[in-house]
């Protein structure tokens, strides 16, 4: 009896997981994804600010900006692969992929020249703007 109950509980959990995985992207899922972009751009801005003020180590900047870039690219891949029915979601999804691309480019600047204070200032400004744009996009959903 107990075994049957455990098997049923496991089957219910598996079914719930499968249900959660399929179907078109919901506004909430898209919002979470855009918030990840917003957070990553903000972190990039903080890192770039430290480079601009000569407060950090170049190796750390290179590795960490690469890691942040990977997060953004992964998020863009997920957005690209997700299906969307709602026209509002489709439009926001396209904007989010574009934002991800621009955040990745700005982070790439830090990765390529982690010791350049002037490049870092430019990157910090761009990342701050992109983080704010992502915030506005998420708020609209």
């Amino acid at each position: 009896m107990r075994r049957r109950f455990i098997a049923l509980a496991l089957a219910a959990v598996a079914a719930a997981s499968l249900t959660a995985c399929g179907g078109p992207m919901s506004p909430d899922e898209l919002k979470r994804s855009i918030e990840t972009l917003e957070s990553t751009a903000a972190e990039g801005q903080l890192l770039a600010g430290d480079v601009a003020d000569d407060r950090t180590k170049a190796t750390f900047v290179r590795v960490h900006s690469r890691d942040l870039g990977d997060v953004v690219v992964h998020e863009a891949e997920k957005l690209n692969d997700a299906e969307a029915d709602d026209s509002e979601v489709v439009s926001a999804k396209t904007d989010a992929i574009d934002l991800a691309d621009r955040i990745d480019t700005a982070l790439g600047q830090l990765q390529v020249a982690p010791g350049s204070e002037s490049d870092a200032r430019t990157a910090a400004k761009a990342l701050g703007r992109l983080s704010a744009d992502a915030g506005k996009l998420a708020e609209g959903l």
Partner: protein
């Protein structure tokens, strides 16, 4: 000086338990997400682990029996085997996460590759285990992990709002599931079972007897309180730096970036030294815990106090668990995610680990005049109830809040 060195066991057990690779990021996430209102959860968890660590150390001092000997004696064969298997899965998954985490941390220093530095970390840990005595392992990895106190100094330098911090230590009724996710996670992080496996077996390694009751008390109180203090400091510093900027940390690099804000390069370097030794300490805690549990359950000769070559089954299992952990890390799985999966396996292990300690600690036939007094008994059973509640609440909140996200 001697008394400072005597609390090394408590320090390494706490540092390895409270601020391992997953907890470092989790504490920062808690600060960045819900901020100081979740602070009260840390002392709740710290008091719980102090109660059980003190009890398990006292049991060793009186009966020379570490945790898994109690499990075998108090449970039937099936339940003790189940407890062993579940604890091994939990501990070895965590070991894999710590080794992978070491690879990430070393790569921040040199930028070669995470896989390469995971191998370097494995070899360095294996060499340390082979060449250093048990006390040396405790002191090097425990005390060097205290470089994480840079977060305490950092949060003070960032001029915190003391009123807000004070209010954070008072539990509040809160409707948000994400708040409870972090509260439950912070309490559970303090009570991870491998801290007790390592602490009670370490007490046997150090040959504690009835004359060491005050050493046991000092280790459990000072060591775990220090771990809790670092946990609080990371949470507060993250609430000051990350929350206003809207940053949600996902890697150990973000945690290091927090220490860079008040102290620039010095903060970054101290944070990475602390993280490196704390995660290495957690690697040693988990590797030994897995080997201790298996050897104690099977009745093998075990311990670092003997020559490793004179106890081949214990030594081979220690080496085997390190290699399995390395294989897990080399799959490329994210160490932070891996520690989240490990939490799922801790669900059945938590109550099964703590129950035998309570039963033996309260058994006058075994403990004699050192049997649990009214305070230890009340706190022990109270926390056991809380642990059972956490075991149910943790996975529900994890799914409900999408991992706090």
């Amino acid at each position: 000086m001697k008394s400072v060195l005597q609390v090394a066991l408590g320090v390494i057990a706490a540092i390895g338990g409270f601020v391992d690779i997953g907890d470092l990021v989790f504490n920062a996430q808690a600060g960045a997400s819900v901020g100081t209102p979740a602070l009260w959860a840390v002392p709740v968890g710290v008091l719980g682990i102090i109660v059980f660590a003190e009890m398990s150390g006292r049991i060793v001092a009186v009966s020379k029996k570490p945790n898994f000997v109690l499990v075998k004696e108090r449970y039937g064969k099936k339940l003790s085997v189940f407890t062993l298997v579940a604890s091994l899965v939990l501990t070895v998954l965590t070991l894999g996460a710590e080794l992978g985490g070491l690879g990430f941390v070393l790569n921040y220093f040199f930028d070669v590759s995470v896989s390469f530095f995971t191998l370097v970390a494995l070899l360095a840990i294996a060499a340390a285990i082979y060449f250093l005595p048990f006390g040396g392992l405790e002191r090097i990895f425990g005390y060097m992990g205290l470089a994480l106190l840079v977060y305490l100094a950092g949060s003070l330098k960032l001029d915190p709002d003391w009123g807000e911090i004070g209010r954070g230590f008072v539990p509040e009724a809160h409707g948000a599931a994400v708040y409870w996710y972090f509260v439950v996670g912070l309490i559970a992080a303090a009570l991870m079972p491998y801290e007790i496996y390592f602490y009670s077996s370490g007490a046997v390694e150090e040959d504690w007897d009835e004359s060491d009751m005050s050493v046991n008390r000092a280790n459990s109180i000072v060591g775990f309180a220090l771990g809790g203090l670092i946990s609080v400091a990371i949470l507060v510093a993250s609430a000051q730096v990350l929350k206003p900027a809207g940053i949600s940390p996902t890697s150990v690099g973000t945690v290091a970036l927090v220490a860079e804000q008040p102290y620039a390069q010095l903060g970054l370097i101290l944070a990475f030294i602390g993280i490196l030794f704390a995660v290495a300490g957690a690697t040693i805690d988990t590797a030994f815990s897995a080997a201790y549990n298996l050897a104690q359950h099977q009745g093998w000769k075990w311990g670092k106090r003997f020559q490793l070559l004179s106890e081949p089954r214990f030594t081979l299992s220690l080496a085997g668990f390190l290699l399995i952990g390395f294989a897990i890390a080399q799959t490329g799985v994210d160490p932070i995610e891996l520690t989240e999966y490990a939490v799922i396996f801790s669900i059945p292990v938590l109550p099964l680990t703590y129950l035998p300690i309570l039963l033996v600690g309260g058994d006058r036939n075994v403990m004699g005049k050192y049997v649990n007094g009214p305070v230890a008994r009340t706190l022990g059973w109270g926390y056991f109830g809380l642990i059972c509640l956490l075991a149910v609440a943790a996975p529900v909140l994890f799914v409900w809040t999408n991992g706090g996200g």
